[in-house]
Subunit: 395 residues, 2 copies
Amino acid sequence: MPEPPRRQGTILVVDDDDVSRMMMESVLRRGGFASILTARSGEEALTILSGITPDCVLLDVVMPGIDGFEVCRHIRATPRTAGVPVIIQTALDGAKDRQNAFRAGATDVLVKPLEAYELIARVSVHTANRMMTARLEEYHHRMEAELEEAQGLMAALPPDTERLEEFRALGIAFNDHLRPSSAIGGDYWTAWPFEDGRVGFFAGDVSGHGVSAALRAFLLHSLLVPPPTFAEDPVLLAAHLDRRIHQAFQGSRHFVAGVIGILDPVDGVLAYVGGGFRDGFIRRADGSSESVPLSGLPFGLVPDMPRSVRVRPLVPGDALVLFSDAVVEIADHPDAPADADAFRLWAMAMIAQENPPLDQLAQRLGDRFAERFGDHVSDDLMILSAAITRPPDMP
Amino acid sequence: MPEPPRRQGTILVVDDDDVSRMMMESVLRRGGFASILTARSGEEALTILSGITPDCVLLDVVMPGIDGFEVCRHIRATPRTAGVPVIIQTALDGAKDRQNAFRAGATDVLVKPLEAYELIARVSVHTANRMMTARLEEYHHRMEAELEEAQGLMAALPPDTERLEEFRALGIAFNDHLRPSSAIGGDYWTAWPFEDGRVGFFAGDVSGHGVSAALRAFLLHSLLVPPPTFAEDPVLLAAHLDRRIHQAFQGSRHFVAGVIGILDPVDGVLAYVGGGFRDGFIRRADGSSESVPLSGLPFGLVPDMPRSVRVRPLVPGDALVLFSDAVVEIADHPDAPADADAFRLWAMAMIAQENPPLDQLAQRLGDRFAERFGDHVSDDLMILSAAITRPPDMP
């Protein structure tokens, strides 16, 4: 007789009949299973199950005390064992028993008398399935925990509450809505104050997806915070990003679509360099809106890219709104905005209707957008608003 | 009759008998399955399977032409469908058929005449299992691809071949052995040249594991490359790292265990600041060795930590060897080095025996270590050597 294959997994055999139990154990051993536990009653099975999670349970129905159905229900009701396959053995004429077995949560039902070949085949299939699923589940849980921690790190990159208060004292109310898709990604913004009361910012999207995009976003963050000494000139800062990102991402054809801006609440000016980001818009105090083109080569694509600054007036009551691709890349909803202009119109209609406070623009837009189209968003979603709330404190 | 639960998944029913096939389809529909495909022959089944991957196949054995066993073997032999559960129906007296069904790779065998309840129960169990497993497998593949890309980004952080040649021209042969564990992690080293022919380096390990550690390593990298202007003073660079890492990791209680060093091949000196890294060693040209203590608070734990520089002579023929925790954290191998001194002795014995070229020290040590203890290494493994190969070019 050829040596049977060695089979992984622990099998629990439960039967009050000594001959049946020993027969099953012997068949399973000959079939290659080395780790077999046995219980002579439902009570004994539950005791074993309280300490051990087998990979398959082979269960007799009719036993004095706790019967097979009850053991099965207990296994299904206990989270730790809920996924363990349970094979219930019934008598040949027990159609009602088979039905009850499935009702109790059995994975499979075996008809007595058992054929050795079939017993091994069924236990093997269920045990192998279970072990593979358990491995995949373990991986899933481990990665989700890792990604959750990484998401926390990503979420901590934008300015914290204290920093936002600092900006508010300067007359600028930043407000964001960040909703990561299931995996981490590369949507990112940050801002930094200058000594003269102006505030610099960057908002953008690192190309690629998932973990790699997050790694690149971390690198980008380190280029901006703390800002280099020349950061008050957006052209110099853009050249710095182009050079450093190109160097760091070299050969990977990755880049950062975004915008560098400097808000000057004293002179009422926004100066910015667009780098291939979605066009934003300014919501004016009088209720009108205008598009803010952010076209241009993404940062880091070419190291010595000539860039020019564009300026816009931005006075108390005005708000700049920026957003990532996720907002206009919803293919499967008929009412979803198809481009940046469509999103601006959608946003302006929402603002006209609800008149949200200027310092909550991004959150409110994001919430309404998520209510309406949330199920269809597959990318990280970022909306950022920067409102000029009041004339700045004068010395 | 209560409404049956809606069940997900596509079932393929294969039977040449019209009545049987329609009966099974009807039972499954009443059981809540909405997506059911049918085939009247093995040939038709294979045609359907060439374009569609069902979540469960219900298969008659005896059919003219290609029979059920052959269809089942085809499903198992095709990678795309290999995991699809196959339920084969056999006649009640067909013990041999049941055995052949399992031999052909059947997941389950159903005895005719079929009970409606049992048919639904078995198809439901197998379909639900399959769909969950497929989802988990899809997740696993997607994450592995993401992590592989991220591993590539991590692997690109240390100096590239061109940069290593530059160091070699200065008289310093860096050599590394980096073996990431399955997930990405935080082992990291880099080096940068100064204009006067000295070379700065950092080697270390970011606390934590997996994706988050990799994110932190990226941030660390950006603090070191390009090096700040004051990087030729290791105490100033250490203060910079302490401050910036503390700021960036704030609240997370994470830090970087490592060493900042400056190699001066002209004056034959290593100047370094240890930051809680495993003690390295110097392998002298005369075959002796000495430990290089790298104790001290890890970088970033405290922002204003007074640090002092230690110095060692390092002349042509000498090599500094640094290594990460993975080398001395192998619990389950009786011969594994238990601490940095034990690793030094193991390494010196290996070097004495094989006499590897000085510019391949780390690779050779790493390869031998992996051969010997590789299966027991569960963390990222880094060994780094920096050998002074020759007196530098004099002007």
